[in-house]
Every structure is written in structure tokens, then in C-alpha cells.
Amino acid sequence: MDFEPRNHKTLPLAVVQGWMQAVIMHPDGIEAGIESPDAQRHLVVGLDDCESVIAPSRNLTGLERLSIYHNAYFARLLECMRSIYPAVARTLGDEAFDSLALGYLQAYPSRSYTLDRLGHNFAQFLDETRPDRDDAGQPTEEWPDFLLELARLEWAISEVFDGPGSENQHTLGAEDLLAVDPERWPELRLVAAPSLRTMAFRFPVNDYFTELRGLPPETDVPPLPSSGPSWLALSRRDFVVRRHDLESAQYELLTALIVGQTVGTAIAAIVAAADTSVLDLLAVQLRDWFRAWTAAGFFVAVEQVSD
């Protein structure tokens, strides 16, 4: 829309809105926003004649008045990002986090009616903008991977918190599982609670998250952990998100069950992957795992697989 007015008293509404949005969302401030190609695309106005669009008040110039909206846009959305990603923000520190979040808001501005989706692409943005890539585009440092995984965890917590849950449903207890004929188990499927999800990390992300939450606000953050695989289940009970550390085999089994594999197929897969010397132990462990998982409300039904 290229509108070059002779008389700004008759500016079309679409021109005013496109111009004002480009100005107040510009990351480098109002002046840079007014002179940006994005704003000039809507309206050719310079710093010296901004008041031909925005009237001054008794106390403030048109530029100063516009800057209130600019300040509000960034302050509000940065606060929002800090709320969605408190652990990433604390790990990086306010200044570094705000700088990253500003870049994110430019790359992925909100297109939703709800602020709940504001952080949807943040982990992807961290990956796209990681500063450690070599000439071939390959990462050379570990710490960006850790931050990315921490962001993935925090976003998953957001999704589980307000996503579908099983609070109004019966969840299977140990007695429900014991009531099933053992001969039938291999062909049965356990229906996972809708909030249940599993995550695999290259770093001990959940341990770090727990440690960080336990620290008083003004204390230094712990050093970033060395790499080392970890696995986690997220669930929701009584509307609060719960974190459950998993072992590798638990992760494999639970993930297989969540995607709908039969109990027999899912267990066969982890048995095949296990060292033969631990198979007896695994049999005992399986009983303990299912007892713990039913106590945590991971499953809502047992289904017969239909052909």
C-alpha cells in the first residue's frame, strides 16, 4: 500500500493502522520505526512531519506520545516471555534474555488472539539463531543445545498446564490392571491420559530445572550441566503439571504405549534392547513401573485392539 498523502486529515484507516503498527513494533525505537521501509511503505512521513499524522498534546510531542505504545508493546510482550520461560530467562540473565526475546518477537510476532501462543516458536528460534555454527553451519558448542532443551521443557509445561487433562475422568489404578487376565495383556492397549507426554534430552534438563526452582530469587544460577542423556514424563494431576524422571527403558516403553502400541509390542521392544543379564530384573521392574505409573494417573483405559 503506497499512500503519499497531501493532506493527512484524510488518511484512510488502513494506512493509519499499517503505519502505526510498523512504527510501534520496530525494535530500534520510534524514530527508526518511522524511517523504516515497512512504515514508509504505508505512509511517507518523516520525523519532522510525524505530527501531521499524530497530534501533539499540551505536554508531549506526537513522537513522545507514539513512543508510549512502542514501550508498552515491548515491555508487555517481554514480560510475557519471561513468564513463559522463567528458567531460560534466569539462566541467561535479564539482559541477554530480553535481547533474545526481542529478536524472537521480530522473527515470530504474535499472530494469535491469545498470549498463550506467544512462545510457541521460541525453541525453534533459539536453534535458528544459535551463535556457534561454523562455516559449514554445524554447531560447535554445547550450551545452546542445553538452552534449547530447557526452552522445550518450559513450553511443554505450558501446553500441559492448560491442555486437555483427565481430572474429570477415572484413571486406572493398580487394582484395575490386576483385574485383567494376564493372558490377554499382550493384545491390550493402555490409553494414556491426554496430558501425558514423554521427552528425551541430551542434558539433565529436569534436574537443572528442579535445582533452579529451589534457589532463592537473587542467588547465582548453578553452572550449566555437562551433557548426559535424560528422560522425562510430564503429566497433569489436579490441574498442576507433574514431572517424572524416567530411565531410558521407561521412556521407550511409555512412549510406545502413548502412541498406541499394544502392551505386548511395547514390552517386547524394550526386552529386545535389554542386556540378557538383566531380563530377570526387568521383569520385576516392569511391575514396579506400572504400579508407579498407575498411581500417577498415567492411564485412563484398557482397550482391546480391534483387527
Binding site: 493527512h8 486529515k9 484524510t10 488518511l11 484507516l13 488502513a14 493509519v16 493502522q17 499499517g18 502505526m20 503498527q21 513494533m25 525494535p27 530500534d28 525505537g29 524514530e31 505530527e51 499524522v53 499524530i54 497530534a55 498534546s57 505536554n59 508531549l60 506526537g62 513522537l63 513522545e64 506520545r65 513512543s67 508510549i68 505504545y69 512502542h70 514501550n71 508498552a72 508493546y73 515491548f74 515491555a75 508487555r76 514480560e79 510475557c80 513468564s83 535479564d94 510476532p109 504474535s110 499472530r111 488472539y113 498470549l115 498463550d116 509445561i157 505450558s158 498446564f161 492448560d162 491442555g163 487433562g165 481430572e167 497433569r236 490441574f239 498442576v240 503439571v241 507433574r242 514431572r243
Partner: protein, 331 residues
């Protein structure tokens, strides 16, 4: 402006009394104490997609209290197409919680598919009026109920405006047959920011179309006011509220508190002050308030006002509402 005699006062909506804006930090208190509150206003966007605690608590409250749905994302003034996905979700929530009415703001929140999550002002002219009136009609048809629109606080005025805000509101309401949510604090904030007389504003809106009043606190930034919703209502706003009450004959009144939110009893007590103000004669402030009158609206030093050099300001304490993100609960 004189009202037409054919308009039913408040569009037939009941006067619900003195209510409080529902905020998630108060959920535990409300569910434990079930305080005697006339009604609650919810932020629609906090609930339309919720399948967790916010929606659970809302359903519990809807059984015990009258509710009103107040939105921040309708963007009735935007030149982007209306978002019927959003409107559909709004309608489904309304069908479930049966609110007294649905409100939003006379504003735009973004164009070209973006959302600034702010209540941005429109120029007050014939083009905007025709645009907004047409969209209100479409929304009302879709929602199958009248829409109630609020005057937002604003910080700029446009050269392309050809009429006052109060003339625009009156014509908009009459031509679209919508209701008005008169935010008395916003009238005051905008009157200071735009150098107009708030009494003239109140006197010239169509009073029968006012369905509801909002009260809130603001921050005085020396050269302008910001609608922060982070403190008590100031005395000039109470004075305007008293006048609005007289002009409208009394309408549902609600207090908004969105930042530095105190415990629920403090918020509730703030809106209940309306009773004292309405029973006082206008010359005499309610007991205990006169001593505070001279200091309740004094300028506050504000950091980071103006355009921060080289980039966006951060940690600015005076941020206009809305900031409506539900806090996550995790163990």
C-alpha cells in the same frame, strides 16, 4: 447528547451491582472462601481455549456468581477481516457460562495478521465510524446477542479525527444498536492525555446505552497518565463515577486490578467504596478519604519514559494493561 426515548436502559441488561475482575491469582481464595461478591467479569481470552485449571475454576464460579465476558482481542476497529475462528470460540464459551453480556473495546489490536496485544486507538471520523458500525452488526448477528464496547485509555490522537471521542461513541452505539462499557478511569486518563474535559465527555454520551462501568487505578507520569490497573482508584475518577452514576441511573460497576494485585479482600473492598461515594453528597468525601485526596493522584517518577535510545525499553514499571497471561502451575 440526548438519548432517544426508544432505547431500553442498559439494553435490558440487569444492574448486577459491584463486581470484581476475575484474576487467576485469586482462584485459591475464591474457592476456599466463596466471598459474597455481586458478580465477576472474566477476561474471555484466558478461558476460551482453556482445558485446565482456568476453565475448571470458571465452571465452578459460573454456578455461584453472575458472570460477564470481557475480551481484549476482538479488534473491532481493525481493517483486517474479522476473525470468525475467534468469534466461534467466544460464542461457545458464552453458550457454556451464560454471561450477562459480552464486551470488548473500541480499538484495534493489529493489522496484516499481527497482534500487538494492545488496545490501539482509532481515528474518530466518518470512515472509521462506518467501518466499526458495520463490523459490530456482523459480530452481533454472529454472537446472537448485543455487543458492549468500552472506551479504552489512549495516548495519541490522530490528525484525521473529525469528531470527539464521545460523539463517536454515541453515534456508534446508536447506529449499531450496541451497548457501552463506560470506563470512567479511561475517560479521566484520556482527558489528561488529550487535554479535554471529562465532564463534557460524560455528559454527552448516550446514557441509556451504558450497560456497565469500569473503575481502575492509573499511574501519573508527570506529562501524561498511564492506565496501569495497579493501584487504588483515584479521587478524580471517583468523582466522575459519581457523576456517571447520576447520569445513567446506576449500572453494573466493576473494578479492574491487573498488576501488583493485592489479596482478594483488598480488591473487593476497593469496589465497595463505590457505595460510600454514591451515598456522599459530592461536596463531602467519604470518611477517611479527604486526608488522602490531595496525594492520591500525584505524579510518580517513572523510569524509561520516552523512546529508549537504540532499542526497546525494558522493565518499564508503567505498562498499560492488558497483560493477561495465566501463570503455569508445575511441581
Amino acid at each position: 447528547m440526548s438519548d432517544t426515548g426508544t432505547v431500553v436502559p442498559r439494553l435490558g441488561c440487569k444492574n448486577l451491582g459491584l463486581g470484581v475482575g476475575l484474576r487467576t491469582v485469586h482462584f485459591p481464595y475464591l474457592l476456599e472462601h466463596w466471598p459474597a461478591v455481586d458478580w465477576f467479569e472474566i477476561i474471555s481470552e484466558n478461558f476460551i481455549d482453556s482445558r485446565g485449571r482456568p476453565r475448571y475454576v470458571l465452571d465452578m464460579l459460573a454456578e455461584r456468581y453472575p458472570l460477564v465476558m470481557h475480551g481484549v482481542s476482538l479488534s473491532i476497529g481493525s481493517t483486517d477481516p474479522l476473525n470468525f475462528d475467534y468469534l466461534g470460540r467466544l460464542k461457545r464459551l458464552a453458550d457454556a457460562v451464560r454471561p450477562g453480556w459480552i464486551s470488548d473495546h473500541l480499538c484495534w489490536t493489529g493489522v496484516l495478521g499481527l497482534n500487538a496485544h494492545d488496545l490501539l486507538p482509532v481515528p474518530f471520523n466518518e470512515e472509521t465510524l462506518a467501518h466499526v458500525v458495520e463490523r459490530i452488526r456482523v459480530v452481533q448477528d454472529f454472537l446472537e446477542r448485543p455487543l458492549v464496547l468500552e472506551n479504552p485509555s489512549s495516548y495519541v490522537t490522530f490528525r484525521s479525527s473529525t469528531m470527539s471521542e464521545w460523539e463517536f461513541l454515541g453515534r456508534m452505539a446508536d447506529e449499531s444498536d450496541c451497548g457501552l462499557l463506560l470506563d470512567v478511569n479511561n475517560v479521566y486518563v484520556s482527558s489528561v492525555n488529550h487535554d479535554f474535559d471529562p465532564v463534557e465527555y460524560l455528559d454527552n454520551i448516550p446514557h441509556r446505552r451504558v450497560v456497565q462501568c469500569h473503575l481502575a487505578g492509573h499511574t501519573h507520569c508527570v506529562t501524561h497518565l498511564i492506565d496501569t490497573h495497579d493501584r487504588q482508584v483515584t479521587d478524580p475518577v471517583w468523582e466522575l463515577y459519581r457523576r456517571a452514576h447520576r447520569l445513567t441511573g446506576g449500572v453494573s460497576t466493576l473494578l479492574e486490578w491487573d498488576a501488583s494485585i493485592p489479596p482478594f479482600p483488598v480488591v473487593h473492598a476497593e469496589v465497595l467504596k463505590a457505595r460510600e461515594y454514591l451515598s456522599s453528597d459530592g461536596e463531602t468525601m467519604p470518611a477517611g478519604r479527604r486526608a488522602a485526596a490531595d496525594t492520591s493522584d500525584v505524579p510518580q517518577p517513572v523510569e524509561n519514559q520516552g523512546n529508549g535510545a537504540g532499542g526497546a525499553p525494558v522493565h518499564d514499571p508503567a505498562v498499560p494493561h492488558p497483560l493477561h497471561l495465566v501463570g503455569r502451575e508445575v511441581q
